[in-house]
Symmetry: C2
Subunit: 196 residues, 2 copies
């Protein structure tokens, strides 16, 4: 039997998961807290126990998604010693996550930018953490002679994010016109040959 603390975490995460789906489907401006509560199977008041308002819920949902992405990337970094394999696994992890959680990709790319608070006041630590980790993987690969020393690791990490983000959106928007393999093969080739 689950204890009280575990039940609380379950409820909190259920709200965040529901919020990601509702924001992606209805759009940030049209989504209502009551839609999120309904999908999560909780009372409206419960959502306000955990979150101040809709902006706060959006930002916490984003952080929840990024924590999961960053923890997947961290695991790859810590368990995979080959520099090229790290990049391959990192690319595959993005498409795997996008196919399991397409609404999370849409939320990060579109809905987040609808929040004035997010765009103007929020210091995006989770995204910085994400870019820093990719830059570290590139830097270590450069030091080991696996990747080209002529690259700036920070510019390359941003370039890699740009490729992955755009092609994940292309894949989601194509609704089956593109196979994920067609996309990931081309992206794998560009990134790997591009940095080695």
């Amino acid at each position: 039997m689950k204890d009280v603390a575990q039940k609380k975490i379950d409820k909190y995460e259920r709200i965040l998961d529901a919020a990601a789906r509702v924001f992606a489907e209805k759009g940030f401006h049209r989504a209502r807290i009551s839609d999120v509560a309904k999908l999560a199977g909780v009372a409206d008041g419960t959502v306000y126990l955990y979150f101040q308002n809709k902006d706060d819920l959006l930002i916490k949902t984003f952080e929840f998604i990024m924590d999961q992405v960053n923890s997947v990337l961290n695991r790859i970094y810590e368990t995979e010693p080959s520099h090229e394999e790290r990049i391959k696994k990192l690319i595959n992890a993005h498409y795997e996550l996008a196919s399991r959680y397409p609404h999370a990709v849409e939320l990060i790319t579109f809905e987040l930018r609808q929040s004035h608070k997010f765009m103007k006041e929020y210091e995006n630590k989770k995204f910085k953490e994400y870019l820093r980790l990719i830059a570290t993987i590139i830097k270590e690969g450069q030091d080991a002679g696996a990747f080209s020393k002529s690259l700036s690791p920070y510019v390359a990490s941003r370039a890699i994010f740009g490729i992955l983000n755009e092609t994940m959106l292309q894949w989601i928007a194509s609704k089956g016109k593109y196979q994920i393999e067609e996309i990931s093969n081309t992206v794998m080739k560009i990134i790997l040959d591009g940095i080695t």
Copy 2:
């Protein structure tokens, strides 16, 4: 002396240029038609002569920017016979445009997505034209044996847009921390080695 038709074009383009600056600075939701009219040096009513409402003005501004980008890319495609040089010039053209019109990059990336009309109803022909042109450059390079045949030209064109868009934003946001050369050298290396 300019004739009447030319004066009309000047006024139209002056409004679009002012709109790009106002939307990028104030954000789509906060920007007012009267701010745009003031910066363009015309009466509020003049803006409404050409544009139905704020959404219409935003979309026309976007199309005006994309027409200029597409015409630069078309000129490169038509005048440069070398496949690799086309790609190099295409990359440089993006950073040149971004350094001259940083507000246009911000408008395309952020403000456009604030318009519900743009996101949900607008068929983005100009962006398709842009991607199609890059895909054509890649396809011709493949046929001539200059670029790798294993790439999907449409996925690669989207990947190239993703790299350029993200790194232009990185450069604009860095406010001088990154030199444009540091960024363009890394991007040039990734794209050229990535597709050849």
